[in-house]
Symmetry: C2
Subunit: 727 residues, 2 copies
């Protein structure tokens, strides 16, 4: 434990340097938020110690139902206690006011301080100078703050994070507004200039947050001292990061929605026969009714004997994931039991369970357990749990009422989370792990074994979502569906294998996209008439995809190590470059590269790019594929032939890759080739339950490696080869 | 005056047939809104007679600042009195409730009843089954309700309109939500089915409106009996439609932002020399400061002698329109006078005048008068008066406060309107007409001589905006800027000449787009270095554009007639087909055709279309270009060569077209060719001040026409030719 003392500034209202990155001598410019303007009842609140490195301030009278008050998983207190100790809050006292509209909060932003976070934002990464209104929306079309999973948490390059504990659609004006001089204490700079990116933020400003309909709010402040540590504290406060089961890190394939048992089994056999690695198959049990509510009963026309089907799939080493949404049809076995615990508005002709009530979670979960978990189902895809303004406004309205006291607005902010609780609690009761998909989430989500996805499909938008998810304890799957071209398909496959969940989602295509690249949602009925009409030369495309899926299978041990660190330290396994190098302005706006784990940087390539610019953080790096040394701290152009994307590892990395097998639990996946990059000074470690479960090191002087196989869960690993890369 | 008696239904809560279109025998199915659910304080309100054909109901205690309470122009009471008399409100009593979130209103939607309106919506025309949240937004990217000019007014195919008199960002769930059966009085149908378009609305539902932050609201109900009459009543309630000066109906060209006097005069001469008709030139006086606030002082580097420049332009018969926005920089002459009447937040480093206060309007307007109106300026382009969530959130925040008592949310809903008042009042004081541009507007805007525009640019989005504008008293200009191709340029030009304001906006291109088609915003700095680099063969493109601009000049007399009817009867000059044929399901979802005036239908063509489907309403029609008879009441495909777009007129139309001249006031424009379509039974009439100012008729039996030249304002018309079309 390192003790970082508070460095005081005479006359400064900011607890200066604690907010600055430890590894620099940059000290924050003193900033003063403006005094509260006339017409508002000013409230000031002091930061009170809450947990190690975390402070809390209360403005007015907070609402009863908030992300923190409704949480089902507690903070990882001991892990928080083991982090750097910080003696004073990294921000001045918070100011706010209560108005007829709700609550306003004011927090300072220093010169050059950049803002990140707010959940699964799809259209920008850096938010200083903009406004974000955090509405839950299934179809976010612009950079307004609408998101599948908005999170009222932001973190800045000055090394602290702020959680506004509200389930309301709060608005964050991130230094984009300025009080007129008659209403402020000092001369604030203009918020808008035509200066180049970043230069316009060279003066202090104010983060202004408005929370509608509330009379007060709790605010949590997370110390760094680095940006990444602030995020880690937030994730540990959330309960620590998820550590998914190993099979969750293999390849997933979601089958055509109308597949029956025979078609499903045929696809399962095809993958094994044609050496397509696959761990998880997703299917639609056909339980949506005409109006789309779920009965949670298998469609007997498609699935006459589900236990036999699941058993056959298990024998082929598949996990099975079932599609569902929570809106319960009157024909569902638990409909009447759920009725008293549901909202006053229906969705898709089904009731909306109030999962804030333990009984509702239990009634819903018990059916899941007896009908599906007991059958051997490994998880669920929790669809439609967000909200739509754009596609017909199908969701329960914001003015709905729920028995737990929440209105529809609040419920939207937590519905995805509580739905995850239902499933997680059912698996916990069965003492089995799960890893699934969910379309909405929110604050404090880090411990949940669910990965977000979207019906949007722009490849760049998906990569931005992967990057943004890491600021707020989320995970995102840039799933592959159909494609514009073979090139587009391959480029998307090359991205998804470097993500938290490597999945092709074939719900509207009868055959894997490598057999019918262009099959689109619009034409799927047509394709249905012509299922065997494969693209010419599809075997070559399949081979390319098989190759890329092999990259994924090779990566599983590294992903295990990365997720283990998410669980133990809260370190996001997928994250923006700026999080590790907050003082490098070249990284501030990067939206097409990200870090994986502690040593890897991925630079996806998009269709039609024959080259791309890569920005490398400072330090020595190596090409992941060749081991070639690459100098960091610069931008450069690389050619991007279709068979690779630029991936780099820190020079010095020891990097264990598995042999691709049929699944992440196949014998092949336990045979490691150890790649040594540079001097091999950074050992490869998998930690479990706080202990080192496997360690692979390299002694550059002797040119020999060492292997402590330990006892990682699952079958033991062996090393089949050592490979000094780049030589 | 026709008296339409109320036809009662035993047991029906709806005032049935008054809401149905007069020309059919369809009677509305009885509908009952659900009783108010638990947890809400129910309020019921009766419709009270307000003005002829208009009722008002009050729920709770309305806010002080609303579109109606803040209006600067009163209703056209005598014109309302001259419409069909309607004895009973066309809707049952309204129900609502007050909650901690605001106010909720419930209104019935009958089986098959379709909903239109909500202002300048860009992404859909028909709103039944969807949700719209009416936020003011400069960059609406999706179909959420965000708009430059949202209007809380809707009209239905059952022939009535509803205005929710609020300046809040109200949410309208247009039959998209349904209460769970335990919370409603009867079995409501599912809101969501996978049925084909429209069939899903074959059951009754509820329009639910939520108004945030309010304790109550007034609701206005506008009788039809037809859909168009309901809109007309709304427009007359707003004060009647605008009748722009004739020069406003010619061609407009906005010049390159950095143009100086010499460049401007050169362009003005070029247009005259090369026979490009043009009435209005738009320019940027260069008064935006570095932070973008306006000083309202000419940039002396560009404009050393504005009076001389304006005088030179006037001599060439040009009107001059100046760009500005309202955010006033400290260097503006009226800054200190405005300061006490401005909001607490700045925008672009300038103050935000509170134009709800007459003194602020006067102080701002007086500078406009003395500095620009007196110089001969004909109008302004009022930019940036909306709000942005998407492009940096530059606007004053929703939680701003203004001296008049409005908060920022309310102010956004009325800011565009009150800004228009400033300018209109200044021109009224000078007893001169104006016609200009504005980027935001709202409820009750019909009398304002301003046309909306957008920085968006999708051609289909622009046509949809033209169509939607007609439901709520707005006008929209689908301006032409750069283009993807010559074809795209021509297609856009062919649309804009059939719009309320025919404009090329060259603010970021040094030369007219026919000389440099591809010049884009992104490359304009590059183009600036190379201003003389014209496209090869540009003269041919110029000739095509000249031809299309000629169509506009031909159309000016018809546009005069159409706008005159807007002023006298409230009939929108540009509107959706459904408005005139509300019972034709083929027209319900048409988003690419619209009506102009009382006899013309325009079907724009988009780049890359070599043919298109046309839907014609029932009746006999003629091809506008050839006179060929075309049967209505059907869909058909037409070829679309680049030199034309499909335009139709009602068979029987007498249609006067002017000779294209240099401007709408040139001698040529007074020489009419009269086209006679079909039997010529529909005379061509221009009415002014309630009297027939010009009438052209055709006697099909004698084969002769008659002309009553009357005294239309401006120079007299002569008829140079009669042309029996199609023969």
């Amino acid at each position: 434990m390192k003790e970082i003392s508070r460095r005081g500034f005479a006359g400064s209202l900011l607890a200066g340097a604690v907010g600055a990155a430890l590894d620099t001598s940059s000290l924050r410019t003193a900033v003063k938020t403006e005094s509260v303007t006339a017409g508002r009842a000013a409230i000031s609140a002091r930061w009170q110690p809450h947990l190690p490195g975390i402070w809390k301030a209360q403005i007015g009278v907070p609402e009863q139902s908030t992300p923190v008050s409704l949480r089902a998983i507690g903070p990882s207190q001991d892990k928080l206690a083991s982090m750097h100790s910080v003696s004073a809050p990294p921000l001045m006292d918070v100011e706010g006011c209560s108005t007829t509209r709700g609550v306003e909060i004011m927090l300072p932003l220093a010169a050059g301080e950049l803002v990140y976070g707010f959940g699964l934002q799809m259209y920008s990464v850096m938010h200083r100078g903009s406004k974000k209104t955090l509405r839950v929306n299934a179809d976010p079309k612009g950079d307004s703050g609408d998101a599948h999973a908005p999170v009222p948490f932001y973190v800045t390059t000055h090394g602290y994070g702020v959680l506004i504990d509200t389930a309301r659609y709060a608005s964050f004006s991130c230094g984009s507004t300025r009080l007129h001089k008659n209403h402020r204490a000092q001369d604030e700079p203009a918020a808008y200039t035509e200066a180049p990116p970043l230069a316009q933020f060279d003066e202090a400003a104010t983060m202004r947050v408005e929370i509608p309909n509330a009379k007060g709010v709790d605010i949590y402040l997370f110390a760094g001292p680095t940006m990444r540590e602030a995020v880690e504290r937030y994730n540990l406060f959330s309960g620590g990061g998820v550590n998914p089961p190993e099979w969750g890190l293999g390849f997933w394939y979601r089958c055509y929605l109308n597949s029956n048992t025979e078609q499903l089994l045929a696809l399962a056999r095809e993958f094994r026969d044609r050496k397509i690695p696959c761990d998880v198959l997703g299917l639609e049990p056909g339980w949506q009714t005409h109006a789309y509510a779920c009965s949670f009963l298998w469609d007997p026309k498609k699935f006459s004997n589900p236990p036999a089907m699941v058993s056959s799939l298990k024998q082929m080493d598949y996990q099975l994931n079932l599609w569902e949404h929570a809106y319960t049809h009157a024909t569902a076995p638990n409909y009447h039991a759920l009725e008293p615990y549901s909202g006053d508005y229906e969705v898709f002709g089904g009731l909306v369970p109030d999962f804030n009530i333990p009984q509702a979670r239990r009634i819903f979960g018990d059916h899941q357990s007896s009908a599906f978990l007991d059958l051997g189902i490994s998880g669920f895809k929790l669809d439609e749990c967000d909200n739509s303004d754009y596609t017909g406004g199908w969701a329960f309205p914001e003015f709905s009422r729920f028995p737990s006291g929440l209105d529809g607005e609040q419920m939207h902010s937590v519905f995805g989370l509580r739905y995850q609780d239902v499933i997680l609690e059912a698996f916990n009761r069965a003492n089995r792990p799960t890893y699934g998909l969910v379309r909405s989430s929110g604050a404090l989500a880090a411990p949940y074994p669910f990965v977000l996805y979207s019906d949007l499909y722009d490849h760049r938008v998906f990569i931005r979502a992967v990057i943004n998810s890491g600021f707020t304890g989320l995970l995102f799957c840039p799933e592959v569906r159909d494609a514009e071209s073979v090139e587009d398909l391959i480029r998307r496959m090359q991205s998804v294998v470097f993500s938290p969940l490597a999945m092709v989602n074939g719900w509207y295509v009868q055959n894997p996209p490598w057999k019918q690249v262009h099959a689109s949602w619009e034409t799927f009925h047509e394709r249905e008439q012509n299922p065997g009409n494969f693209d010419e030369g599809w075997e070559k495309v399949e081979a390319q995809c098989r190759e890329v899926l092999g990259w994924r299978m090779q990566l599983v041990p590294y992903l295990r190590a990365s997720f283990a660190k998410y669980a133990s330290h809260g370190t996001p396994p997928f994250r923006a470059l700026i999080m590790d190098w907050p003082n490098d302005p070249n990284l501030a706006l990067v939206e097409d590269e990200y870090l994986v784990g502690d040593r890897m940087l991925v630079a996806p390539v998009f269709a039609k790019q024959t080259s791309r610019e890569v920005v490398l953080p400072r330090g020595a790096w190596c090409d992941y594929w060749t081991g070639e040394a690459v100098e960091g701290g610069r931008k450069f152009k690389v050619q991007t032939p279709l068979d690779r994307i630029p991936v780099y590892v820190k020079s010095g990395s020891v990097f264990a890759v598995a042999e691709p097998g049929a699944s992440a639990r196949s014998p092949e996946s336990r045979r490691l080739t150890v790649r040594v990059y540079g001097d091999g000074s950074i050992p490869f470690v998998i930690r479990e339950q706080g202990k080192t479960a496997m360690e692979i090191s390299w002694n550059n002087q002797t040119g020999k490696g060492s292997f402590s196989p330990g006892k990682p869960s699952g079958a033991p690993y062996t090393i089949v080869d050592w490979k000094k890369m780049g030589s």
